[in-house]
């Protein structure tokens, strides 16, 4: 699935507000390193930038950080479909 679409779905599922930043921890397979995807709402939709380190976070900032490991322990962008399926199947 396209990563941008996956992030848009996640933004909605988590109920991130337009004045908040969404930070997703993610393993970059091609560079073999962890990185952070910084997602912000702009007039043109969501913009996504990448950093190697967690940005400095202050108490006056509004943000959500989300992280999930796959079965091999690598950080992945959580799939909203999987989150819903897990919730429903674990009755």
């Amino acid at each position: 699935m396209n990563a941008t679409f996956q992030i848009q779905q996640l933004w909605q599922y988590l109920g991130v507000q337009d004045d908040e930043i969404l930070i997703i921890r993610h393993y970059n397979q091609s560079d073999d390193k962890d990185e952070f995807l910084i997602v912000e709402a702009t007039q043109n939709g969501l913009t996504i930038t990448t950093t190697d380190t967690l940005p400095e976070l202050r108490t006056d900032m509004k943000f959500q950080i989300v992280q999930q490991r796959d079965s091999s322990g690598k950080f992945i962008i959580p799939s909203v479909t999987q989150l819903i399926n897990d919730k429903v199947s674990d009755y």
Binding site: Q64, Q67, D86
Partner: protein
Amino acid sequence: MAQRIKTNIKFYKGLENVADRLYGFVTKTNGSWKGCRETESKKKIVFVDPSIAKDIIPNMLYSCTLMPMRSETGFIAKSATILRFPATIKTICRKNVFVVRITFGNKEIIYDPSSKEKRKNDIQVIAQLLRGRNDLENAIATAEDFIDNAFMVRRLYEQSQGNV
């Protein structure tokens, strides 16, 4: 040969007259059998085969292979593999809200430094709880990830209280 069914079920103990046997329930949804709660009206009972019963932990979700009983009143679980869910750790900081939520399956554990309850405000208590979960994938790594996020949230929460 009777048809085998694959589905996910939770088992419980303490059924009247057969208190020592593990049991669960399935219901037919859209043509296939699925695990369900006891409160479901159209359901069939599932007993665990005694040969695998010793490894079953009550109230955990298992991927099972079922065989119909000869009487056709229910099923016998012939194999059961525990299902482990990946944890999603959500750290939320916004005006007056400083929390870490760990979700897996339909469960949610919350760390809230402003809470008066130890099960919600004690980082080590929550980390130990996570390490001991049988239904959590990467339980040890999840506990360490939680600790990192919880310390950050606690620092920001304390700073916010100092600024009031």
